[in-house]
Subunit: 382 residues, 4 copies
Amino acid sequence: MRFKPNYAPGPTEVRENVRLARTKRTNNTDFDREFVHYYHEVCQKMGQIMGTKNDVLLLAGEGILALEAACASLTEPGDRVLVLDNGIYGEGFKDFVSIYGGEPVVLSFDHHKGIPVEEVREYLKMDHDFKYATFVHCDTPTSVLNAATELSPLLKEYGILTVVDSVAGMVGEPIAVDQNQIDICCGGTQKAISAPVGLAIVSISEDAKKAMDNRKTPITSFYANLQIFKGYAEKEYLPYTMPASDVEALDVALDNILEEGQEAVYKRHDKIASAVRKSVQAYGLTLFLESERSNTVTAIVIPEEIGALRLQEHISETYNLLIATSLAQYADVILRIGHMGENAFVDKVVFVLTIIDNGLRDLGFKGNGNLAQLFLDAYKEK
Amino acid sequence: MRFKPNYAPGPTEVRENVRLARTKRTNNTDFDREFVHYYHEVCQKMGQIMGTKNDVLLLAGEGILALEAACASLTEPGDRVLVLDNGIYGEGFKDFVSIYGGEPVVLSFDHHKGIPVEEVREYLKMDHDFKYATFVHCDTPTSVLNAATELSPLLKEYGILTVVDSVAGMVGEPIAVDQNQIDICCGGTQKAISAPVGLAIVSISEDAKKAMDNRKTPITSFYANLQIFKGYAEKEYLPYTMPASDVEALDVALDNILEEGQEAVYKRHDKIASAVRKSVQAYGLTLFLESERSNTVTAIVIPEEIGALRLQEHISETYNLLIATSLAQYADVILRIGHMGENAFVDKVVFVLTIIDNGLRDLGFKGNGNLAQLFLDAYKEK
Amino acid sequence: MRFKPNYAPGPTEVRENVRLARTKRTNNTDFDREFVHYYHEVCQKMGQIMGTKNDVLLLAGEGILALEAACASLTEPGDRVLVLDNGIYGEGFKDFVSIYGGEPVVLSFDHHKGIPVEEVREYLKMDHDFKYATFVHCDTPTSVLNAATELSPLLKEYGILTVVDSVAGMVGEPIAVDQNQIDICCGGTQKAISAPVGLAIVSISEDAKKAMDNRKTPITSFYANLQIFKGYAEKEYLPYTMPASDVEALDVALDNILEEGQEAVYKRHDKIASAVRKSVQAYGLTLFLESERSNTVTAIVIPEEIGALRLQEHISETYNLLIATSLAQYADVILRIGHMGENAFVDKVVFVLTIIDNGLRDLGFKGNGNLAQLFLDAYKEK
Amino acid sequence: MRFKPNYAPGPTEVRENVRLARTKRTNNTDFDREFVHYYHEVCQKMGQIMGTKNDVLLLAGEGILALEAACASLTEPGDRVLVLDNGIYGEGFKDFVSIYGGEPVVLSFDHHKGIPVEEVREYLKMDHDFKYATFVHCDTPTSVLNAATELSPLLKEYGILTVVDSVAGMVGEPIAVDQNQIDICCGGTQKAISAPVGLAIVSISEDAKKAMDNRKTPITSFYANLQIFKGYAEKEYLPYTMPASDVEALDVALDNILEEGQEAVYKRHDKIASAVRKSVQAYGLTLFLESERSNTVTAIVIPEEIGALRLQEHISETYNLLIATSLAQYADVILRIGHMGENAFVDKVVFVLTIIDNGLRDLGFKGNGNLAQLFLDAYKEK
């Protein structure tokens, strides 16, 4: 397959040193105890970046496995689970809860802004008998950013565990797991971490471990059962054959982040995202969100007479470039620009904005000026 | 981590062109419909090598996910499942059956030889009310090879579906899925295929699909649910983000196999395995198996006064080489030499035998002659 | 060192498959006769692309070694050599002639256009007693393209051998060695071929071989002596250890060219170069050349009050981008955009033009519109 | 081309991290001043490993370019040069001297041992009017090691500059350029350094620089002219386009050496070489040399009735393995085992000795025991 440049909100570009780490010969992960220790170190490095001293696990699978593993390991038949929903992935959690016999209680909010903490607070006053609650840090289809800072501590007040999907948030936006008292924080390697698809990430708090230990029924899964890793480091034995080179690649990707500095990485995302938002508006387009916009992705409303899907197809055919629209009801409404991880660099954004500008004009849209230049002007200002 | 040569029965060495394929920039698997077609082609190529026109899926996970997905997708609460057991992994299937609410009926046989087809035939005459049966093609801890050729058709006579674990068999030993009427054949990339860990393989027959479609209860899993892939090619949409570079690496590994020719690959395994077995016996050691020895791995009994674990540790410390013992009750009894895929080449085997010979002699064993030379003599003869 | 994007007229970007070919383990080039044949095949493939059935050699060195080897191997003390000069490298040939004892006769022309064939014709009527003549196909410091089509045949009429430096021309512009009767055509791997620096290329005609065979004095060099390769293929022995992986990388780069098709590659260069030139002029800048502009590089005059060197430094500091000025008397006058080989793609050019536009405006230049957009408009038109 | 394992005395195996460094995208070496400084640092690191504070240059070419550049840059017409010859490359220096107009005086010694320092001392008493002298540190065709420690200081007593070819010596055997007062020490990347072919190495003493500065005639070369690099670091400009990725690969290879420790590397070579020599003799074969055997390569006399070339061909055909015989008069007499750099590891040597043992026995030789085992016994003893 011919390579096509990619500006979707993940999987992102993977830096050369990360890709090269994946090509190396690897040791046998089944018989080499040294590998188990190495795995453990990379888990801890991941934890450092997530801001947690909790156990962190790397599961051999795509990011969604982290979400399922959290729900599979916590949910027992009949458990009530609070599903906070202000976006497509937010609502999706209810399915994982149901599969494992839980009773999801879905609390839905406007998709055009972050989950309103006060409304949640009010709701909890009336109804707080939940084993755990779920919400999404950055819900990519609409690019909304939810306040983990406030939601998790609030839920914790009622003894409700929190499962947070930060797959498309972490590294691009601060998550601070321990500070925010998140019990299970889920991530994937292919978003702002900019490592290849292949590992799902979970951090597990002591409270979450206790909840699993105190289950009355066994966990209905092996692959999504977080308990199978229990004591692996002491036993020097992992529950299945680990993809060694994915672990090594992640290790290098994490080093890239630490070398740049986490604060610098956040600033880079912020500077790019702010300039993208500013330029898009100055150009004459509308952002989907009213507020709480994530720095990892920008959702732009495409005028109905053009249509996001038609724009996507036109750009793919004319400029051989893959841009992302959205999902479900937003598929033809929203155009998304992913600017997370390795994609959050000026040269990448300049090019995609140039093409979007040309694509829109080809289809009859009259923008105010040159979109890439508007971006650069805003970027230089900041 | 420093690289250590590895002669375990998987993960095997990965050829340079496969490793290099993993380092390439990849397209976005979520938005690029072309990728879905590419994935489909690689699945079909995999099927060609497995000898099947059935649907083949590549799941983003380790080989064990294939086994779990087969059981999760087929088993409904109360289903009776026949677990044919003549080795450690053979017996292990009962756990997957139980997790998903099935009732495993374990039929156990001597671990020193293949599953006796006639005994199974006799048993089935009395009791054959099973939704499906499970067995392992090559059970690596003891290196036994079971006759898929006879077992699957026999079970089919009674309308019993078969789930076969050929993770450590396929490509090193013929599996011929369609000819043997195997309903779900499970594989992994890291054994005789010699691609990196990362994808689990399943082929699914029409009968198996029907059994899933006709379930009365939903499948208690997302990640291990084979139904989520239903119609993906037509919809041009995969159920989760696929590890693109693992698919590309597998593609190259499959091309390597097809280029050498499948028959030639089988012959290479046979020639190496025969010479290993002959030399080990001529040297004065005993093979664990009486018969039905797989060409992918050889299990050697280590005299009690030496002990397999002590030999392993001595060789690791003195020669910086990782050799594999076995699992569970055989951990200190059996030394295993993996000679599958890229490890089934003369130079690799000469070296590991030289070291085993020296290791054994260091610990007081008196072999008849030089083990590597005995191997080369047997190899040249054949 | 941190990677900096590069838009200079060579070394160009190297495609991923070429870079990966360089990483592979290689065979021993001294003892493996098969390698000699492989080397020979790659030489012939190189010849095919240069349009010649003459012997082609790959020398282990940078492109300049090809020029020196041509002069070293042809020149005997006292030989008169005609040096056609309309640019910096054109004039430079006189030094190679002098080093090896020849008498260079330099015929200089206006640097703002191609060598005027008629003037050369007139000159030759008066003075044509030359062993060989030299000229440059594309003289990169000013980006001029000289008419190999007419010059070589004209010189041949007088029995004058031609040495043509097509290092920065071949593959981006047709060279057609046999059709143009070029005796020694010189190339390098790092320009429009887009392989890494490492091999110098020469094609040698029968007449050139005769001239070397008939020398009265030995060649004053080993490394720049083309005769040391004489009969290497028959002897299955190369005169020194060849950089095997450079040969393998070149092989892949040549396959890339053949796969795209040479005509398609020329068209791609033409389309990009035309649009660059058009946009630069529409923007309000002046091209250095009046005519005979090469499609591999564009030389732009930077207004004196800004200065090419200051612009280069400003862009390097502000945008971390390396752009090329020129050499010698043109160092502060000319800005060059290399658009050859892998750099002759829309996305690369859009980005560099965006930055040049911003850099110029930062320094007070008022362009007419947006340079990248002017380029895209011209590009889409064509 | 299919990869063939290689046990020749260079080019040696290249470690994975060095090969991967070669695949990286590189910066523009012509316009990036930072690259010039990086090049300079790698040159200094090379000097550190050679034991010198002299200027060190990396030339874009094969190792032989270093020898030619030394002779080209020092020799003026009529200069008398002392060529110390006790091997094929030792004698070869006379050609480089002659090409550049010097008068080589060849002092020849027995090829079966090192250059006898006392005989040289006696000779110099009678005749010492030489601009410079040449000798080879390790002359690979016979594997002899010459005493740079004594020869260079002795020649220096008479004001004679020394040019030493340590291409196949350095890193495997100590060279200590400054301590031994070597004026120009030549190396290549593809021997014990175990980087790919591509760079020639020279260190240049103050005396050598003075000799070049004081020439009355210009140097008859550009590519082999060491003076073109004069002041490059200050000018931030290299005389031709450098192969950036070869420099980066060498950098990693040098780091590998420094990480292991130079003394440890010497010890590793010594331990391997001693065990090879001991086992070969115990097996019943004869070493070519009486004494002064280099630790980088072992020359073994193959009985006339078998013949080294026939053994080489037999092993190539039967075992797909490339072993090296020697050159010129020794081509059919000597079998060479290269054990330098990455090839100086136990597993590599065990395999090649196993095959040589089998090859010899196939052709009727009766060795005393198993060659690989004799090697391992000697190796473990030491």
